[in-house]
Amino acid sequence: MLDLFKLLRFKKETPRDVAKERLKLVLIHDRSNVSPQFLEMVKSEIIKVIQNYMEIDEDTLDIQLTKTSSDDGERVVPALVANIPIKGMKNAGR
């Protein structure tokens, strides 16, 4: 019976669900207080670690706090996305 109801609703999210999801996301941003300086700090630390193992292109390296869908595809979750172009491996890494 309950499943039938779900089917009839075409799995449409209610305004209540939408509000909750949007609020959760906006609060993650607010609470983490992600200033550009904060991201710069994260970025420089990541560069330091990765450079021990590979040569990377620092100029085109990009780090962002963004959203993505969760593994089950039902929710939107925050994500730290880093795009790090690799120029080559260092010998120490082999």
Partner: protein, 266 residues
């Protein structure tokens, strides 16, 4: 020694002033000696919500500047024994007083009153800093909207940063019919997100507008559902354990019949 409670929210228009007026009148009805302080300098409103606008002679800035004694600025509410109002100044701004002055004022009032309720202005600037300066406890008012809950979250963070520990949440203007339809966030949704304790929930109620028009707090109205909610909150402020108001009381005949026959409302 009295207790200083600040009523705050971040966002404007969620019901801070109405809440202050109702809890204040409610405490006075239960025999407590209460003073309400309006710290919204430049945009004062607690006086009109209380129906005391015609009796203002001196205000909070006059007290701070020494233009009058504190006792002269306190307006005695003749309808409720033990209830007083210290109005805000209307033609000045928030920078007319400072947090240390507020601390001193609150300490002075603590000796005379059981409860000092501070009505905080919207925002997080000077007015907010003044309002929270002397407070022992804080009630954060919000409504079931994304913007209001977001601002409440910010305010909770700022209160904790200012060492006002474990603020309590008041959720205002809840419409249980909308929650049931999936059109509004529920009490549980909001608590889940903000992760703080509740002091109470007030349903959306026309009687609030009527009572505000009259300048008589709804807490005295026995027919008002919001009034009942405020009476419950008042008792909780005094430390009593009162169960949350059943917001399903206003449902229609059809859903009552369905319930009677065991049919779950969709």
């Amino acid at each position: 020694m009295g207790e200083v409670i600040v009523i705050t929210s971040g966002k404007g228009g969620v019901g801070k002033t109405t809440t202050t007026a109702n809890i204040g009148a409610g405490l006075a009805l239960l025999g407590k000696k209460v003073v309400l302080i309006d710290t919204d300098i430049g945009l004062r409103n607690l006086d009109v919500v209380m129906g005391l606008e015609n009796r203002i002679v001196y205000d909070i800035v006059d007290v701070m500047e020494g233009a009058c004694r504190l006792k002269q600025a306190l307006i005695k509410d003749k309808r409720y024994e033990g209830l007083y109002l210290l109005p805000a100044a209307q033609t000045r701004d928030k920078n007319s007083i400072t947090p240390p002055q507020m601390v001193k004022l609150c300490d002075e009032l603590r000796r005379e009153f059981d409860y000092i309720l501070v009505d905080c202005p919207a925002g997080i600037e000077q007015g907010f800093k003044n309002a929270i300066a002397g407070a022992d406890r804080a009630f954060v008012v919000t409504t079931p909207e994304v913007s209001a809950v977001r601002d409440a979250d910010r305010i909770i963070g700022l209160l904790e940063a200012n060492e006002i520990r474990s603020p309590k949440l008041l959720i205002n203007r809840v419409r249980q019919d909308m929650v049931k339809r999936g059109d509004m966030m529920s009490i549980e949704d909001i608590i889940d997100i903000l992760a703080i304790d509740l002091i109470g929930v007030v349903p959306d109620d026309e009687n609030i507008i009527i009572s505000t028009n009259r300048g008589e707090p709804a807490v005295t109205d026995n027919k008002s559902q919001a009034g009942q909610a405020y009476r419950n909150i008042t008792k909780r402020v005094m430390g009593e354990t009162v169960p949350l108001l059943d917001l399903n009381g206003s449902e229609g005949l059809l859903s009552k019949m369905k319930k009677l026959f065991g049919i779950k409302p969709a």
